[in-house]
């Protein structure tokens, strides 16, 4: 390769070094530090000075019902919201891909929920769900129905938190899938149309198989982000009612900032990280296996 003779490998590495050092400080070091801290007692009781306490934090974690509930809440939240986002995101991407007048504007306006701050939007949703003055209840009233407490019972709060997350992040999935759609040569679709294939057949035989790498990318990215959900639940529900929307990240945050138990907070951080690695690795293996199989 001609390109590689331009600079020595030394120069290239040197150019990458500053960025990689900063990445190591901000990503690798925190994980190592939290892993270490998870084996220490470090709370108000120790004056926030770390004292080795063996596996006590981890033992506590295994017997902590709140941890298991939060893990279940987080997994259910991630599974359901990511699945919905992929389906809706695909529909949105197909719509945004169609040539039409003002397509650029349509794309920009559709992207807005993704581009605006989550805390701002979460506050907005709290007002939309407000009982009895919010717009959703105004619509219910206009239809003659009784007002509904969207954020009152655990089940409905969980559901409407998922809805707010789907609204906010689907545009991002759509954007990634749109990139995939743009990479499919138009001639392929035209030739299928000439063969008399229906839109449904084109989607199944051409679009979806070729879109697979992008769907995988969107899935991995969204899964990792959803397992770390924090901003939305912290502002929209504060984890309530009865912990029904408390994510692992929120529990870790509360342990550090409210209960001032840094050792246990670190244990929760590492537990969440391990869960994340396990699930993304599993997802990656499954997707890769699928990709190796002959499509149809």
């Amino acid at each position: 390769m001609k390109e590689q003779r331009l600079n020595s490998s030394w120069v290239n590495s040197l150019l990458m070094l500053p960025a990689l050092v900063l990445l190591a400080i901000v990503f690798a070091w925190p994980l190592l530090d939290s892993a270490w801290l998870s084996t220490q007692a470090s709370s108000v009781l120790t004056g926030l000075t770390p004292l080795a306490n063996g596996g006590a934090n981890w033992q506590r974690l295994l017997g902590d019902a709140r941890f298991w509930q939060d893990a279940a809440v987080t997994l259910r939240f991630a599974g359901v919201s990511v699945a919905l986002e992929l389906v809706l995101g695909l529909a949105m991407a197909l719509l945004l891909h169609q040539p039409s007048r003002g397509r650029g504007w349509l794309r920009a306006l559709t992207l807005l929920p993704w581009a605006l701050p989550t805390t701002v939007l979460a506050l907005g949703w709290r007002w939309i769900y407000n009982d009895p003055y919010g717009p959703l209840n105004a619509i219910l009233r206009a239809c003659g129905a009784a007002p509904f407490g969207f954020l009152t019972t655990p089940a409905s709060t969980w559901l409407f938190t998922v809805l707010a997350d789907v609204w906010k992040t689907t545009p991002f999935v759509a954007l990634l899938l749109l990139a995939g759609l743009q990479s499919i040569p138009a001639e392929l679709e035209e030739s299928l149309v000439l063969e008399g294939a229906s839109p449904g057949q084109i989607l199944r035989r051409l679009t979806l198989p070729l879109l697979k790498p992008w769907i995988s990318l969107a899935l991995l990215f969204r899964l990792a982000q959803a397992l770390g959900v924090f901003d939305l639940v912290q502002v929209l529900t504060r984890g309530g009612p009865a912990g029904s929307t408390e994510s692992l990240a929120l529990y870790a945050y509360l342990n550090a900032m409210r209960f001032l138990d840094f050792g246990y907070s670190a244990t929760l951080v590492i537990a969440t990280f391990l869960l994340l690695v396990l699930l993304t690795a599993l997802g990656w293996l499954l997707l890769r296996r699928r990709a190796l199989e002959p499509s149809r």
Binding site: E3, L22, L37, P135, V235
Partner: protein, 266 residues
């Protein structure tokens, strides 16, 4: 279908705008109340004159955003160039690390970064906040810019070198001008991220006058969980969204193409 999509995307935002512009009576009853008017700018006056005023948060967010964008591009350009010119196992390894860090959820870093901030005295410092922000933006920025470098004609740099240009001059006078569109879309995405980041700002900044917009909004929300000054909330959210709204609408082409091009090549 397109109408439905627009309704789904914009109705919640439009409702915020409406809420911010009407009197409390009008909001609750839908009609002109005792105050005699339906529309009002009172909510905006209130948040504009609050202590600290909303423009303070906007300014703080803009400062962090600008510093983060500048620092990210400064570090990402050489890294992306080196990565693109580098062959073999190192390139594969670095790309893998960048992908892994790009999908990593930020919130899991807050605890250790908080300790770091306390140990180094970086808390309550807006410019210091842009250090972790830069690291969080670097993976995406490097991947996008590397794809852009890969797009340039391969003989171009060689020709410049044969004319006796050294590496800094080649970058500045030959390569970077051609990269301007990619640099612009990367900068916008970095600024967006920085404007929206919450968990680290929440834990690094405690002085009210230094808060960036997301924790400020969350604090307003938390301080009055059971009262309904929603008009003022809505005014704050509208003002907080406005800069990004303009950014997205003005640069929509560059954002969409930046992300999609990066995803295709990356």
């Amino acid at each position: 279908m397109k109408g439905l999509l627009l309704l789904w995307s914009l109705a919640p935002l439009a409702w915020q705008l409406y809420t911010s512009l009407v009197t409390p009576e009008a909001l609750v009853s839908g009609s002109v109340g005792t105050s005699g008017s339906f529309w009002t700018l009172e909510n905006y006056r209130q948040v504009w004159l609050a202590d600290p005023p909303i423009w303070r948060y906007l300014l703080n967010s803009a400062v962090v955003g600008a510093a983060t964008t500048a620092l990210t591009l400064t570090l990402a350009v050489p890294c992306a160039y080196g990565l693109q010119r580098q062959g073999g196992r190192l390139r594969w390894l670095v790309t893998l690390a960048l992908l892994a860090t790009a999908i990593f959820p930020t919130v899991l870093l807050f605890l250790a970064l908080l300790q770091l901030a306390r140990a180094l005295g970086l808390a309550n410092n807006l410019l210091a906040l842009s250090l972790p922000y830069t690291a969080l933006c670097l993976p995406l920025a490097v991947l996008l810019l590397r794809a852009a470098f890969a797009d340039l004609p391969p003989d171009l740099e060689d020709a410049a070198r044969l004319e006796g240009m050294n590496l800094p001059r080649r970058l500045r006078h030959v390569l970077l001008p051609l990269l301007a569109p990619s640099l612009a879309s990367t900068a916008i995405l970095v600024f967006l991220f920085s404007w929206n980041e919450y968990p680290i700002a929440l834990t690094w900044i405690s002085r009210p006058e230094l808060l960036t917009l997301p924790p400020a909004i969350a604090r307003i929300a938390g301080s009055s969980l059971f009262t309904v000054p929603y008009g003022a909330f809505a005014a704050a959210t509208v003002l907080g969204s406005l800069p990004l709204l303009l950014l997205v609408l003005i640069f929509q082409r560059s954002i969409v193409s930046g992300l999609t091009q990066g995803a295709i090549k990356g």
